[in-house]
Symmetry: D2
Subunit: 511 residues, 4 copies
């Protein structure tokens, strides 16, 4: 029987289920689906790593724009070692991509630690992972970590626009079979996925998915293969939603891990990431001065909290709108006046949406804004600002910079709209590699756990990341801050009634 | 059949149970029991409202110290309206107590609003509430609110030292039967409880308890009465623990509401209350200057987060110790260096414990502190600092001010110990009435809910406050900040898949 | 000829004069005189150390209230060593006073360092210093430092209410001739000063004054003695004003040092001291919660800046009023809305004056405040709030705590007035010893400089503390923070065109 | 005789002189000269508006890169109205330049107000202003304001690289004679200046200079013209230094105004501008995450204070180095540990210089930095980091992005050097128009004052901007924040001994 490899112990599956049954009622499903929808559309789609790839492009020695326009599917390419099981834009960009990966590695210390800690032992030996995520320098670090831990990987892109071609080249040159390039057609998209699933003499036993397209493809096209999958790891809201539906319908053949809702990932993706990027996104697009500016932030969830904290810290005067009285009370105690948007909209310099809701800023608000007011969105999709209401004959749009439009009223008033209402920080600033490191590490650990779990630990259901693994992800990132954890004594652990090695908090703890 | 009165709707009982089963594993039970233990001991006990009552005393027109020493049980007293069903220190203090209640009312806007909102309708008509809590100006506002809503109340003290005698007098003069005074003996304590339970022609049908002593007394002495109780509301960790044990043993005869773990109460009792009071407690005891002081805060839970934020804001340089890597990572991202106490203890000016653990500061740390280092506790009990290790022959203790001891080493080094390691903010500063208002409102709403719930909504079990009521408590406190909530449109509510009137978040939301 | 002792070198006297000629136009003279007026009045007077002495009293083992009521001038007392050249309340309190002095020493590291650094050399040998200041634990540390440096000292109180009797006893027991006690009559006040000036076989050659009364007394009564004074050190605005007038009139017989306007002292007395004490003063009097409170701070000078920073940091929403557009612009950039008081007064929870002006809060504002609004003053005197307008028949005053009055309007509205409009932080909180240490060290260095300056360096004029000495005062306080200064290399000093040892900034530098 | 026009009254010239005599000892002359040196060098030179012009370029509809390479001096161009007295790159870019000017106008409210306030009256009627500054959208707003107020203007560039060609075109199209383009040769530079000074039938009577080159040219080449100049306004440290030297030598023929040292300009150029731009400069170059990063900021003057405040606010842990004990003490009280660079350099993630000194970061520090450490300069020139020591054979430089070099040690360690040690915020971020508005308004008011001053008010000397005008500049910027100044009552003004209309503070006030 298979040896059980376990980095951390698992909390009782029972508790997991209790929480999962609640999780199913995710409130933000609708707009999420819209935002992360994988099928290509004319307007294009945003990806988590878009700006990162863009900044790479900016400094690119090998200009992507000058590339030939032929389809990669028609080209014959080989790596320096003669491999040809891949399909990417241009294998010659590998060296530049390698440098991008190396830079990313510096801010992804946990994965590098993971490579070291598991040391001689390779917990993923025998694992055949098929993956479908954004293909960027940061995911490259993840993929190469999985390889280093013993896995064989094949990878497609989860978004037709987000692939960093040079990074894909570097991965291929390193021996990974990648099927992805920037600017795939819808047909290309599914072709790439299919090529990853079906390889000669290779059948995947693990799935790492972002959005659920890969899972869906296997479930539909290769049902017998689907039954032999040992585990699925999914990080997106949409993909998790699909998994819960499969589970409810009794069609899940193995355990799936919902890594989207782990504590650490949520805090970093929302609170910390937005606190870091809101100022950056505004500066890069408008060069605005923050001191003394009056700002309305719509929504005081984690995203709103991050935005408010950063803006206040730099001298802005921040007002908050909320529908939830608990969040509103938090805003009050944190020193923000809670107002209705309609009360303040005519006097403020900026309006920032962070609600996950739709039409939070409507035409009636936009009409009353003063000349030069900046409007942008940090929430979950491009629905928060009612753009439709602005696309009317009497208003003139003027693109003054990339991602910056002036919408001009008949009397000459200009409202400054950023990123056409899409996510400001993904469109106009960057997401630090360190933030992405949290997610990638969570994914790696989830794979290891599912692959090594003893029989019976997981059933054909969707699981939250065990708290202990969540804690382990956090602990792997502490050395980057030179942070020193205190260890409980036996006596203290007994007093608290917990293990010295965690988990340290009950599942309902709010952090 | 009884008309169902409901201020708010209730979320599915099913979800409640899921969460409750988790709640049972409270990790801080041991020390809580110690802290809030109701049986009198020689060293006396702290109560949540002690310092508030003290500050009232300070400004007292009627000095409590000059009172006669006779036992209230031996005195015959009557109110101005001739009532005598009570036992308190001195009915003549009623006028002064009334002023204290009036001052407290100003910062307890939610209860005053509740009196107005329910208006003509009296949701507690027929309710006979027996209560056992600290008897202070703030609880007086609660008790009189219950009366205003139709309840008949009888009340005893949950702590032998915490009763504000003048407030008790004012309540009695207002028509409430109170059995409580400051400085009861253990025998007095149970006698008072018994007098509240057993009255002529009056049998309680609701219990409001703080610590579980009242509930336990009825359960043990009046089992038949216990069976007819329509609902129990309990706010302490200890009391909640006892209820879960009764429930597990199948001995709970009616539904009980755990108000301790409601979101709003937790945030106010921990994060906000500590942020407000840490500076105050330190200043009142030591007049210390904060600017440039190096401080170690042990523990970065809600209490630690509050302390760190306040100290940093006033110019202190704060280091954090943590055992939990997730909390440690939060501390890093919030700008605090995470260290082991032993690394920093010799160079810092203050050490503040907020862990809920024991012996976090031990003799080996105290030995290495520099002269003049301040040590205090903001956590959950007096176990965090190992006081036993300081009560040895070679160390001299010098009481320099109330609540301030110098512990003097043979070489003359002095460590400044505050409140003998008990909770600094309860011992040496005040808890704002507004914070207590959150708890009191939660208790009132829980009573109304349990008393008016239709048959079948609650079984013989322990329930968390429904999220919708939690939100309602918050909403009642918003007018104090002149905060204006935004209302969802029908369209938005539909988009989010929630009701326009809440609850607005899933139960697992972390705030 | 006398050996020239100099701790630091002096900047060109020329620059000094330029600045002094500007200094004469002090803008806050009028109210200062009122606040610090030394002649006793019926309403009593505040002193810088009042609250410190109060807190000492609180913890006093030897209750001052129980003392005999006889006048110290009628008593015969001797020290344990048989000395009797003093007049204080009670020599028996010496031991308790000594402990207070020892506690103060811990937060006055610079004076203790000064004692060590000058080491064997005693720069004040031969100096006969007559002093007139508040007599508190902190000034005791100063006086004993002067003694340790070789000076012979005799000391009177500059305020009839501020003397800490126990500290005076400790000083006397230590060998200093003190003539001072709490509660002197006006006659006592001048008698004490006279006894200090005229001693057998002792004539002062240096004056350390706070308010100018001592200087004035010698100038008027002992003109020939006045001519032989080697130097005068004065720390108050009022005293400095008097000195400039003497100088202008050509009646100054020796050099005087204005230590009031040194950079370090100004920053600590205003910005840092107020940032530390505003929260404390409000909490001790009202137990108010800061989170979400709306506050108007009138004036954005150093005092206002300190108050605003502290209040905002604890979660209050702060508005600023200003008359000076430069300060107003700073408030804007720092994130505060600049308003007129009349615009906001009806909605805020607190109004705090920091202007140095008069009638900033008038009856028209008070009439419009909401119920429970707190009004207090952190500025320079009790003129900022128009109290006269509140002392009318239709308003009722109710003293609810020491220093806290409710002023009650006919409709029941209550405005909460603190310290009757006097300085909140001096009346209701404490001034950290560390802040007083800055002033005391400045005074000590000024005495050393004037006493040791070579002939010709100073004329019969008023001088600002040389910047180099200002820097020296600062440097003596750095070890308390374990701060490590960087030293310029020769090359760098040359590049900057300054000395390696300072002064480091031009006189007009704004810090 | 000429009518005296005066927007504001002037403080006594006497006080001015006192302060000026101090000002001459500017400590930062050396490096300033280097940084702002006007003569072209091979490495090119940075200008205050470089990044602004760059960002304009980024969004440029008319790409500057595709322009013809012919010299403007060889081209014949005419405006749409047929004027040809100018020499610029391309008159056809006027429309795009006009839009840039309009955008700048929105953040330069004071100049727009000035146009309105002086209304019908044109205070500069008859003024013939020759100017030499950076030619950017912001200075265009200034120049057109001067025109609107009645002045005739001719303008050259003070820097060969900083001219925004499109803006120059818009100015020309608007009727101003501009001689400037991006990329002038040194010969071009002086030719342009000469063409501005010597026009047919036009002789300048006022000079607006930035750096002193224009003034120097007129002084040297047109001495008789120099004698008829009514006033010189100079904004740079270097230019001011040159003026003081002329004045000392008795060669100044008229009054000159030093606008560099006005309070408002200093605060905005240093404290506020750096607080706004430090985060931006770091993000745009490195995408670094701030949370938990350890940073050393060298120098705690206004620039250092701004950087420290911003970094701390975003969650970095900041250490400060200082040579001046007064600034060091401020850093301590503000909550920063004061260290020597050598103590911390091996553990920190960033080092930022703000000293105005040279070789603050030397090779010995760079050798000990950890891999990935970021080094940059926010001080006054590129001397603070010892770059020379890094240009040695054993170290490899790798340009990874524009303005970002990796310096690679033999063991592979990389230090990330930004902008080759030049000013980070000028090189890699933008300066908000609002900051430049302060300077431009100060210049305009200085011109008005000098042009309209009655005979005798100013002599042949260098003057600081009168405080009242400084206050006026501030007041013109308050409406942008919707800030409402309070006005003194007659009674209050009398009490304070100042005019109701200012100046409100003595000259030595520190703000």
């Amino acid at each position: 029987m298979k040896k059980v490899y376990s980095l951390v112990n698992i909390t009782k599956a029972k508790d997991q289920e209790a929480v999962q049954s609640i999780c199913i009622k995710q409130i933000r499903l609708t707009e999420e689906k819209q935002e992360f929808n994988k099928r290509p559309t004319k307007t294009g789609r945003r990806s988590l790593s878009r700006s990162i790839s863009q900044s790479s492009t900016d400094s690119s020695a090998c200009s992507e724009s000058s590339e030939d326009e032929s389809s990669p599917r028609e080209k014959v390419q080989k790596t320096s070692r003669g491999l040809s099981d891949f399909c990417i834009k241009n294998i010659k960009q590998a060296e530049f991509g390698r440098r991008e990966i190396e830079i990313a590695q510096q801010d992804m210390p946990a994965l590098m630690l993971l490579r070291k800690r598991t040391g001689g032992e390779k917990p993923l030996t025998g694992a055949k992972v098929v993956g479908c995520t954004h293909i960027t320098a940061q995911t490259a670090v993840l993929i190469e970590t999985l390889s280093a831990l013993g896995a064989q990987c094949r990878w497609a892109a989860c978004n037709i626009f987000s692939t960093q071609n040079a990074v894909a080249a570097a991965l291929v040159e390193g021996g990974i079979s990648i099927y992805a390039w920037r600017g795939e057609s819808e047909d290309d998209f599914w072709w790439c996925i299919d090529k990853c699933v079906c390889a000669d003499a290779w059948q995947p036993n693990m799935i790492l998915d972002d959005g659920g397209d890969l899972t869906h493809w296997i479930y539909k096209k290769y049902p017998s293969l689907f039954k032999r999958i040992k585990g699925i790891v999914e990080e997106s809201v949409t993909g998790v939603y699909r998994l819960y539906q499969l589970s409810k319908a009794g069609r899940l053949c193995g355990p799936a891990m919902n890594v989207n809702d782990s504590v650490t990932k949520q805090k970093f993706d929302n609170l910390y990431c937005c606190k870091e990027s809101i100022l950056d996104g505004l500066k890069r697009t408008t060069d605005v001065m923050f001191g003394g500016k009056q700002v309305v932030v719509c929504g005081y969830g984690e995203v709103g909290k991050g935005c408010c904290a950063a803006l206040k810290a730099l001298g802005a005067i921040v007002y908050v709108t909320e529908v939830d009285p608990i969040c509103a009370l938090q805003a009050c105690m944190d020193g923000f006046r809670v107002v209705k948007l309609s009360e303040m909209v005519q006097q403020v310099d900026m309006v920032i949406t962070c609600t996950g809701n739709k039409n939070v800023v409507g035409r009636e608000h936009l009409n009353r804004m003063k000349n030069g007011c900046i409007v942008c969105n940090m929430g979950h999709s491009n629905t928060e600002i009612d753009l439709t209401s602005l696309r009317t004959a009497e208003l003139r749009w003027e693109r003054v910079r990339p991602q910056v439009d002036h919408v001009i009223w008949p009397d000459g008033k200009r409202v400054i709209l950023l990123a056409e209402g899409r996510l400001l920080n993904l469109s106009c600033s960057t997401v630090p590699s360190f933030v992405l490191s949290i997610t990638a590490t969570t994914q790696a650990l989830a794979l290891i756990e599912l692959y090594n779990a003893p029989d019976g630990r997981y059933k054909q259901d969707v699981y939250l990341l065990p708290k202990k693994m969540d804690e382990y992800v956090a602990s792997l990132h502490l050395p980057a801050f030179d942070a020193h954890l205190t260890e409980l004594t036996d006596d203290q652990a007994k007093y608290l009634g917990i293990s010295k090695h965690g988990p340290f908090k009950p599942n309902y703890y709010r952090y």
